[in-house]
């Protein structure tokens, strides 16, 4: 078969201008135009980029070797790091405990009435919509500067996430155990305790462990606005240009976060069984 014959037989495969291609090109051109407009509006300029990167290079060079400061400085760093972990731990734990009853109000199969259901859901959405850092700023107004404000901030923003996740887990629970308990004459509380809790508890625990790790990351930065932990020291050192100490603190954060990551995934596999790989 010659090429001409192929072209007449399958014209759609030999067209150079297809609808698909037009769409692709339009999208790409729009994205590029938006990018250029943004560069212009955000004050990007080649001169600034060059001087910035050369300065960044200097800064990076100043970071080596990392300097722990030894003595009392090192103790202060370690204490702040411990504070960070404590904020994450306490924040995760308390918000999980608080989210448990609230999530059962928000879940469709365990709710008491529609009004509570609606209220609980909107509360979770609002709590989640406000960033942890903003919660920290608000709590600083209430309990003053320090790690306690950080704990409260993490509780607030996590309550929103846990409430949503937990209520979804409760809604996904199998109805059969609940029906079994109902048939033996179990009360509403007994239905939840023996019919639903055993099903959802492993799911909850695994989500809590996952959030503990991600909260450790958040807890490292809330110190920047004054809510305790290593963030305060880090931002102090960056602003006073003590880059050798900055790199040490960053290293410390990396090590702590990966240690907690390792620990949490270990515990998680114990709770939900080995991964299916």
């Amino acid at each position: 078969m010659t090429t001409d014959a192929q072209i007449t037989k399958y014209p759609q495969h030999f067209r150079t201008v297809t609808r698909h291609r037009v769409i692709t090109i339009t999208v790409l051109v729009t994205m590029l135009a938006l990018l250029i407009l943004s560069f212009y509006r955000l004050d990007f300029s080649l001169a600034r980029i060059f001087s910035g990167f050369s300065k960044l290079f200097d800064v990076t060079r100043l970071m080596f070797p990392p300097d722990p400061g030894w003595g009392p400085t090192l103790l202060r760093y370690l204490h702040a790091m411990g504070e960070t972990v404590a904020i994450a731990f306490l924040g995760t734990l308390v918000s999980a405990i608080l989210a448990f009853p609230l999530a059962s109000l928000a879940a469709r199969n365990t709710r008491i009435n529609l009004v509570m259901h609606f209220l609980a859901r909107r509360t979770f959405d609002t709590l989640r919509g406000v960033d942890t850092l903003i919660w920290a700023l608000i709590w600083i107004n209430v309990v003053g500067l320090g790690p306690f404000a950080g704990v409260l901030a993490i509780i607030c923003s996590d309550l929103g996430s846990f409430g949503k996740l937990f209520s979804e887990a409760i809604e996904a629970a199998d109805r059969k155990p609940v029906e079994g308990i109902t048939s033996t004459g179990g009360s509403r509380i007994q239905q939840i305790r023996f019919g639903i809790v055993p099903q959802v508890l492993p799911v909850f625990l695994s989500q809590v462990l996952y959030y503990f790790e991600s909260n450790t990351r958040s807890a490292t930065i809330i110190g920047i606005v004054g809510a305790g932990g290593i963030g305060l020291i880090l931002s102090e050192q960056i602003r006073t240009l003590e880059f050798q100490q900055v790199s040490f603190v960053i290293l410390m954060i990396l090590v702590t976060v990966s240690a907690i990551d390792w620990l949490c995934s270990k515990l998680r596999f114990q709770v939900i069984g080995q991964p299916q790989h």
Binding site: I138, L234, S235
Partner: protein, 290 residues
């Protein structure tokens, strides 16, 4: 009924069956309690102070909905949103920061993800190096990068954009590499058999399989980055955050609520838009599998 022998046997068996689990559960709870006491001491938890000042929290939430004149904000919306034009411009700047940061970060992630995937790259050293580099980029918080970039690039959105880009590159690079590792290898073998080089292999055998998934992940990241960009201003890296933090610190109560409402609304709108786009990408893309 309690003294019925069969009943007693059943009860005993139940006791035995649950005894070990109960013990484990009890020791777990004790451990968590101990740890939380330690953590509470470390984090300077002061329930008395909390109890004394909790009124401040509710009154704070109440106060942000009142204007300086003492009127409820709802009764004078034009006074409440007095800075709307300025704030909308700042929100626009925030969105642009998120857009440019996401785009640059995605490009970086596309560049690096292939050298982090076992099925398209041979060199174990290259894979290891790329993976560690990306891990570093996503573990260091965005705000820390922003703080350092503010020193190098000066105050302003440029530092924020770069911080978002670096963090996005690390986070997306990992996800992209996972996508690439899960592709169908038959097209790759086919292209290699015709004598294609590495770049041609990626372009014609790998890219068509992964592109829709990449785009979907990038859109998801854009959502996250809009939230992130809104607080980057806290450290002087551009966007609406700077106005927000000064409103909070200077106790411009009504401004705080107005700004928070604008930010939450923007986030909600962006979330629903990207969700629609993502469903289209995954649902009707010719390469989609899921």
């Amino acid at each position: 009924m309690v003294n019925h022998p069969e009943h007693n046997a059943l009860l005993k068996a139940y006791e035995q069956a649950t005894h070990r689990r109960r013990q484990q559960f009890g020791s777990g709870v004790a451990m968590v309690l101990l740890l939380s006491m330690l953590a509470a001491w470390m984090a300077e938890v002061d329930l008395e102070k909390f109890y004394d000042n909790i009124g401040n929290f509710t009154s704070y939430i109440g106060r942000i909905f009142y204007l300086e004149s003492g009127q409820a904000v709802i009764r004078d919306p034009s006074e409440w949103f007095w800075g709307l034009n300025k704030w909308m411009a700042l929100l626009g700047e925030t969105l642009m920061m998120a857009y440019v940061g996401t785009l640059l970060g995605t490009l970086g992630a596309v560049l690096f993800c292939f050298t982090a995937s076992k099925n398209v790259t041979r060199s174990a050293t290259l894979i290891f190096a790329t993976r560690r580099f990306m891990e570093f980029c996503r573990t260091v918080p965005e705000l820390v990068f922003a703080l350092i970039f503010v020193v190098a690039f000066g105050l302003g959105p440029m530092a924020g954009v770069l911080a978002i880009a670096i963090h996005t590159m690390g986070a997306l690079g990992k996800l992209f590499a996972e996508v690439v590792e899960n592709i169908d290898m038959k097209p790759v073998h086919g292209v290699v058999a015709t004598g294609a080089n590495w770049v041609q292999k990626i372009r014609f055998a790998v890219m068509p399989q992964v592109l829709s998934n990449f785009a979907s992940y990038a859109l998801l990241r854009f959502e996250i980055n809009v939230r992130g960009a809104a607080v980057l201003g806290f450290v002087g890296a551009g966007g609406i955050g700077e106005t927000l933090i000064s409103a909070i610190r200077k106790f411009y109560y009504a401004d705080v609520s107005a700004l928070l409402i604008l930010i939450i609304l923007t986030v909600v709108v962006i979330d629903s838009l990207t969700e629609k786009l993502r469903h289209q990408l995954i649902g009707s893309g010719p390469e989609s599998k899921a």
